[in-house]
Amino acid sequence: MAPAQVRFRSAPIACLLALLGAAAPRGDVPHVFARPDGAILIRLPTSSLTGDRVKTQLRSGLTTAFVLLTKGRDSENHERKLGARVEIRYELWDENYIVVVIDGTGLRESRTIDSYAHLVDWWSRSPILLGAPSPLRQSGAVAVSLEMVPFSPEEEADTQRWLAHSLNTSSSRAASGQGAASPQPSEGLLDIIIGTAIHRQAILSFHWDVRVEASPPK
């Protein structure tokens, strides 16, 4: 099996996680396997959830999305892509994790997990359905990528609105010398800049090359 490839968005985090990656146990890779009913599932490795960067992100209170994408070939050697998404948000008031899984068939499942330890346990034990029946060839090679997106589209839109409003209000005040807000010619440009800059983008990603297993891993 090919080693995991990890891409980082910033140099300090990259160094830190490289050290963690070196410390991770060998064979800590996702398992893509077929169920007897023909469905194909994936079980993600614990290490993808236990890094410091991930832990910090999960505790931020933002909705962290893990976007899963697998690429393999079907029996006719055509490339097939399968995906799923896991959204985790730490509820700061109740101090629990709200987990939403959207599997490869589009089915949405929500659950509440009361602690980080239980979350890691759930992550390592619960396979995610990628497709049913499996379009992938048995024992075929699969490229798995997992990307961590730090906030949701709703949170992104809310922050864009808030920042644009704050900057426009403050610039209007500065221009008029009073509290009244009035439209400024620069608002359009500012909105475009904010819209371009505050944009969801993966801050951490993992890549593995694995093979489709015939049965669930032990």
Partner: protein, 401 residues
């Protein structure tokens, strides 16, 4: 050119670098404040406090929960801002840098275009000056723009026009002077034998009368006939003399418009069938002129107009006006005009359209000479009907400085 371009590039680079550095300080401060970790820590502490308050005071739990949610929302925004702050700063920097670069680039392009245009215009200016030095006419294309180069171009063109005008005047003066000299010599050569011939004829007829007392009547008739022809010859030489011996003008400041008005009044009935009309707009047109010579000139022109009318009723309009540093006057009739065949040599002596013996064709040459002696000129200008002569004077106040 090379030095200027390098300087320009250096200025642009230094300006952009300075601006980028300055804005980096500003943007890091502004975005950094929003994503400050201490602010986030304080907000987290506030969340914890609201929860503690809700536990210790359950009756107001809903209020604390609401406050908690407000702070949580703010914290969420701060978190997102910390994650995207660098990109936001870069985007702001890039945008403003691009704007400044655009402004500088536009300015530089405009400067370079203007510089190239100025260089081109300077070349044109040099060509105009060279044409002027060669004595060629200059029609400057630089006058389109009223900047310094355009104004210099206009001055060169005005100078060229003035030189051209003076050259034409000089040529006419030299031409007429040579004709005057010829006329003077002819008059002298004719007048001397004419006087001698007259005396000899008188002496001969007196002697013949003594010898032939019976032929007194026939001799008297022959004497009258010979003297009549000699008188015609004398009149001919007198015309020559009047052209040859034109006196130089005695210039005094006069209002030409008023002078024309007076002339039209004084000579109103001088030419039967020709009505004189002065169009005086009240504008003062002061020139330096000799009133007697000017009167002679106007009489000559009016004579020509009256003869051109050939028995019909005609109108002669006199009008003067000021134009820049010149005073102009038009003497225009409504007669048949002047045929194209004589226009080119109209002011040359002995050019006439009349029958032989009816005129010597010296009138317009005298008029031209009078105007040239005044520092001005006389021209035939095109008009819809009749003949229009234009008198050009330098303005009197300009001459006096």
């Amino acid at each position: 050119m090379k030095t200027r371009t390098i300087s320009l590039i250096l200025v642009v680079v230094v300006t952009l670098t300075g601006f980028a550095w300055f804005f980096r300080q500003l943007s890091f401060v502004s975005v950094g404040l929003a994503a400050n970790s201490e602010v986030q820590r304080a907000l987290r502490q506030s969340l914890s406090d609201q929860k503690s308050l809700a536990r210790s005071d359950p009756s107001h739990a809903a209020l604390y929960r609401q406050r908690f949610e407000d702070v949580r929302l703010l914290l969420t925004r701060m978190e997102i801002l910390s994650l995207t702050g660098r990109k936001l700063t870069s985007a702001l920097e890039g945008t403003l840098l691009a704007l400044v670069a655009l402004v500088i680039a536009s300015g530089s392009i405009i400067y370079l275009i203007e510089h190239r245009r100025r260089e081109r215009r300077l070349v044109q200016l040099r060509e105009s000056l060279m044409a002027l030095s060669r004595g060629e006419p200059v029609a400057s294309p630089l006058r389109k723009r009223r900047d310094l180069i355009g104004r210099i171009g206009l001055m060169i063109e005005s100078t060229s026009n003035a030189i051209d005008r003076d050259r034409r005047r000089m040529r006419s003066l030299e031409h007429l002077s040579s004709w005057q000299e010829a006329a003077r010599r002819h008059a002298h050569e004719i007048r001397t034998p004419l006087t001698a011939a007259r005396m000899e004829v008188a002496r001969l007829l007196s002697w013949a009368g003594q010898q032939l007392p019976g032929e007194q009547a026939a001799l008297a008739s022959a004497q009258a006939s010979i003297f009549e022809e000699l008188e015609r010859l004398r009149a001919f030489t007198t015309a020559f003399t009047s052209f040859a011996m034109l006196s130089p003008p005695r210039l005094v400041p006069l209002d030409l418009a008023r002078f024309l008005e007076d002339f039209a009044g004084t000579f109103a009935s001088a030419w039967p069938g020709l009505r004189l009309e002065s169009q005086h707009g009240g504008e003062r047109c002061e020139v330096m002129m000799d009133a007697n010579l000017m009167r002679q000139l106007l009489v000559n022109l009016a004579n020509n107009s009256a003869q051109a009318c050939d028995g019909r009723t005609g109108l002669l309009r006199l009008r003067a006006w000021r134009e820049g540093k010149q005073v102009l006057a038009d003497v225009a009739d409504d007669g048949p005009g002047i045929s194209a065949s004589v226009r080119e040599r109209l002011f040359e002596p002995y050019t006439t359209t009349r029958q032989i013996g009816e005129g010597m064709g010296l009138g317009l040459s005298i008029c031209k000479k009078i105007m040239l002696d005044h520092g001005g000129d006389l021209d035939l200008v095109s008009s819809e009907r009749g003949a229009t002569f234009r008198l050009t004077f330098p303005a009197g106040d300009e001459l006096r400085g």
